[in-house]
């Protein structure tokens, strides 16, 4: 038999570019029927896929998709957590949430907290990264100090800052007294309480943003910046026109990850204010906990969780779409 052309393909072996590779003469002789070929080929690949991805998929199903689906189911129930029986109520929990007089306040707190922690974190993180990117003495120690709070437990951080903000004995009160000012009523004023948890959240998490930005800054090609400098661009101009656009993918990565983390923030609020005073630090995430475990309204709590899930999904999709359109790698 004549040698077949190099373009003759056999199934079963895959490359990154195609399912098919040029065939050997032997292979062409045993070329099966096209219909059978289609069915026989993928089982090895499937086995490999299951072997590697199976455990991970199983864990995801068990610990992510199962609770997600259960939560969806519970959101249609009137269920006292702990009770073996629950009553179906359809979409009543959703109607209750959207018509509850406390909902606008909770949404407002969630928005302020999220915008302040994401926006503030990105700006401060970038500034810190720019400073830490300079080759100065002590930069290594400074980097460690900036990143260290990120690895601490949120509860420990919250408890520590409880003392710092104590209006009678705290460090902030002592510092403000030095300049003749009285300490804000951090714990009894809902607005100040929100400012307080935002400050603590930023302190704890800004190191993460700085770290990622720092890594990105170090991969900015120096020749571009030097070329701009030779052409007479000021450092501000070169930052605005060269560095910042090159940080685009990092910025959008951080925007998504910090937004998701911020909307799901719980530990600092639980340790410092427990959502109070007067609901001044009750975010949607904290409301899920309060309704589910303090008030025992598992169905209502699941409805809030589902709403938050949908919001997160929409925001993430919107951001990804924006990244595709606007960010140039």
């Amino acid at each position: 038999m004549e040698q077949v052309a190099d373009t003759t393909l056999v199934p079963g072996v895959r490359t990154g570019r195609s399912d098919r590779v040029p065939a050997s003469p032997d292979a062409t002789r045993s070329l099966p029927e096209p219909a059978r070929r289609k069915h026989r080929t993928p089982w090895k690949a499937w086995l490999l896929f299951l072997l590697f991805a199976g455990p991970n998929v199983a864990l995801l199903v068990l610990f992510t998709y199962k609770p997600l689906l259960q939560s969806l189911q519970y959101s249609t129930l009137q269920w006292n957590i702990g009770s073996p029986v629950a009553m179906p109520v359809g979409l009543q929990n959703y109607v209750d949430w959207f018509t509850d007089p406390t909902t606008p306040g909770i949404v407002g707190v969630t928005l302020v907290f999220t915008l302040a922690t994401v926006g503030g974190g990105m700006v401060i993180g970038l500034v810190l990264a720019l400073v830490l990117n300079r080759k100065l003495r002590g930069t290594g120690a400074a980097r460690t100090i900036v990143v260290a709070p990120y690895v601490l437990s949120g509860v420990a951080v919250g408890l520590l800052w409880l003392f710092v903000f104590d209006p009678n004995f705290g460090v902030t009160a002592a510092l403000l007294r030095l300049v003749g000012l009285a300490s804000p009523d951090w714990y009894n004023d809902p607005q100040w309480a929100l400012v307080m948890v935002i400050i603590v959240y930023l302190w704890k998490n800004v190191g993460y943003v700085a770290l990622i930005y720092l890594a990105a800054l170090q991969s900015v090609p120096r020749d571009l910046v030097e070329a701009a400098s030779i052409d007479g661009a000021s450092s501000v101009r070169s930052f605005r026109s060269i560095v910042l656009p090159l940080l685009g993918p990092t910025t959008f990565f951080l925007a998504i990850t910090t937004l998701l983390t911020s909307l799901q923030s719980f530990d600092i609020i639980q340790a410092m204010t427990k959502g109070g005073p007067l609901g001044g630090t009750t975010t949607m995430m904290y409301q899920i906990y309060q309704e589910g475990f303090q008030s025992g309204r598992a169905g209502y709590s699941s409805a809030v969780a589902t709403i938050l899930f949908v919001v997160l999904l929409l925001v993430t999709f919107a951001q990804l779409k924006y990244v595709d359109r606007k960010v140039h790698y």
């Binding site: 702990g82 009770s83 951090w186 007067l278 303090q294 309204r297």
Partner: protein
């Protein structure tokens, strides 16, 4: 080059994949509570267990928050029980307070990983009961010959509903009036607590010297709505009459306005930033309302002599709620475990154990025989402050159902009270909002289950 792995699935494979994982996920979702439009009668019943034929389990688990920093005391009581019965009790710190223990207990129900014995506070035992999570105690207590008649009647009947008792009293407390004797002496006041709030208002200007605030009050759930009972009841109001909210009455509004005027008009009271008891111990306030369970801690921490007294009375007379926690047996355990748990509760609330626990924590002795025991007599002689709570018990009454039996009731009342005492909010509006929410919670979370 893209590093993204490529998996080419045809339509059939995609369907198989979807069916495999979708089916697994759907199956996974088929658990949790059973669904029915009739959820009534959820409380456990005393199954006809022939306790005499049951052999107690050799090991049980107790979930506690060690009220009043009582972990060493509880460990000692367990050691004594094990020495006497041979039954091991695993003491688990299941939370920092009653709420945290309750949250874990509710989440663990039905998993087989829950405790045999659990603390059941004044705002939680009823919810355990309607959810069917705890065992009615009466038949087991009768079999084990608990001397239930010796329990303080008010404290034992707190756990009664539907002709059954759902817990036995353990670390029971009342609010107490704590005062700084040094501040009192400097103000030239008699060494006692004010008999009425009107008398306190007469004394307050003398106490308001220097940086000391005369009265410190606390905020937060499981606390603000508890001490406010004193003002509310003392002026003839109540949170609710059984399941009907009564916060729209002139008496209730008057009570809120009185507290509000103490804080904002007369400026003789202030709400603590974090912990009113700690502020009192640090000398920032001249007096405060604290739990009897804080007594030992306050006596140890304060660098001044601490006086205790009854809560001041209102125009309608003295008024004091009871609080703290009882202990209950989980319904989700085997008869062997429940019998062992019952034996432990009998021991834990026996005369000797009660006296030991009370003398080391400041909680009230829940048994009359313990109250009158030699151990407590010694304690009263050494620290007369311990006697105050016991004597005050005569003025206590069972709490309003709207606060303690309705899920979220205490939280809604706390929000209303914080609006009143932190932001000078309108009491009528704050109470109306809370009442609406509590009434709705009752209709959704309690009424269908009864």
């Amino acid at each position: 080059m893209s590093l993204r792995p490529k998996i080419d699935l045809d339509r059939r494979q995609l369907l198989q994949f979807t069916a495999l994982f979708g089916g697994a996920a759907a199956l996974a979702a088929c658990s949790g509570p059973s669904v029915s439009s009739d959820v009534s009668g959820g409380a456990a019943t005393e199954a006809a267990t022939d306790w005499a034929s049951v052999t107690p389990a050799k090991e049980i688990t107790w979930w506690s928050n060690h009220p009043g920093a009582s972990k060493p005391v509880e460990e000692e009581l367990i050691r004594r029980f094990t020495a006497e019965s041979g039954i091991t009790v695993n003491l688990v710190t299941a939370g920092a307070n009653y709420d945290e223990v309750a949250q874990k207990f509710q989440a663990a129900t039905g998993t087989g990983n829950g405790p045999d014995v659990v603390v059941a506070s004044d705002v939680w035992w009823f919810r355990y009961m309607i959810n069917g999570q705890t065992l009615p105690m009466d038949e087991l207590a009768e079999h084990l010959e608990f001397d239930t008649a010796d329990y303080n009647e008010t404290l034992y009947s707190d756990y009664q509903f539907k002709d059954a008792h759902w817990a036995v009293p353990y670390a029971r407390s009342t609010p107490l009036f704590y005062y700084n004797k040094d501040v009192w002496a400097a103000a030239g006041l008699p060494d006692r607590s004010p008999e009425t709030w009107d008398e306190f208002m007469e004394w307050a200007p003398k106490l308001a010297g220097g940086s000391v605030t005369p009265l410190g009050l606390g905020k937060g759930t499981s606390w603000a709505a508890w001490w406010f009972c004193n003002f509310l009841w003392g002026r003839g109001g109540a949170y609710s009459d059984e399941w009907t909210m009564t916060l729209d009455t002139p008496e209730a509004i008057d009570a809120a306005k009185f507290v509000q005027s103490m804080i904002f008009d007369d400026k003789v009271a202030a709400v603590a930033a974090t912990d009113n008891v700690a502020d009192f111990g640090a000398g920032l306030t001249g007096c405060t309302i604290g739990s009897t369970g804080s007594l030992t801690g306050i006596l140890e921490a304060a660098k001044f002599e601490v006086g205790t007294g009854f809560l001041p009375a209102g125009p309608e007379g003295p008024a004091c709620p009871t609080g703290g926690t009882g202990v209950a047996i989980s319904s989700d355990r085997t008869p062997e475990q429940q019998l062992a748990a019952g034996m432990f509760l009998k021991f834990l609330t026996s005369t000797d154990s009660t006296a030991y626990f009370s003398s080391n924590t400041g909680y009230m002795p829940v048994r009359t025989s313990a109250r009158d025991s030699d151990i407590m007599a010694e304690v009263y002689a050494k620290s007369p402050q311990f006697r105050t709570a016991v004597d005050q018990l005569e003025t206590t009454r069972v709490q309003d159902w709207g606060r303690v039996f309705v899920p979220g009731g205490d939280k809604e009342l706390t929000t209303a009270l914080e609006s009143i005492i932190l932001q000078q909010g309108d009491p009528e509006q704050a109470f109306a909002t809370a009442s609406t929410a509590i009434q709705r919670s009752f209709e959704q979370n309690v009424e269908p289950y009864l």
